[in-house]
Symmetry: C2
Subunit: 109 residues, 2 copies
Amino acid sequence: MVAAAKEANAEILKVAFHRFEPHGVSGVVVIAESHLSIHTWPESGYAAVDFYTCGDHTDPWRACEYAAQELHADSMLTTEVKRGIASTNGQYTHVVHEHAGRATAKRSA
Amino acid sequence: MVAAAKEANAEILKVAFHRFEPHGVSGVVVIAESHLSIHTWPESGYAAVDFYTCGDHTDPWRACEYAAQELHADSMLTTEVKRGIASTNGQYTHVVHEHAGRATAKRSA
């Protein structure tokens, strides 16, 4: 995930990972532009990954594609959430784009 | 966020926070049941907070309500994402419930 953060052109601030027994990992990379997180369930062949960035100089999709490649993902289902959108009433909202991925399958099984 | 994790009945594994100058904080609590994260923009009166838990013994909404209370949030907009749902084709999917919050305003301004 550190490498994925670099792929996204993010500035890494903190790294916190935990390895579970007998398998699986949970970890987060706090970046200057928010965070990347991963939780894996190797026994199920499943990983849940978040790429949360801010600003114009980062590209979370590059991190996403890099992680999918490194995880040898057969398939990838993505949802994009645009957060912190200022409303006219002074509050903030977010917008969900389901299955917004630039790629939905990295390789065949 | 550590206290919020305890409110959710989560087991805390790692804590990683970064304080920005002149203000704002980014931080993550890795829990046995996934993670909690926060990013604040005090200059805008905005915070983006994730409560990601697994299992039946945790309640992310308790953590959410606790955080909103501690942040003195005038308003709160929530979206619930149920992740890692097994599909019949052996893949995993997720389901988004927009603005699913149990509470939308913690106190009046």
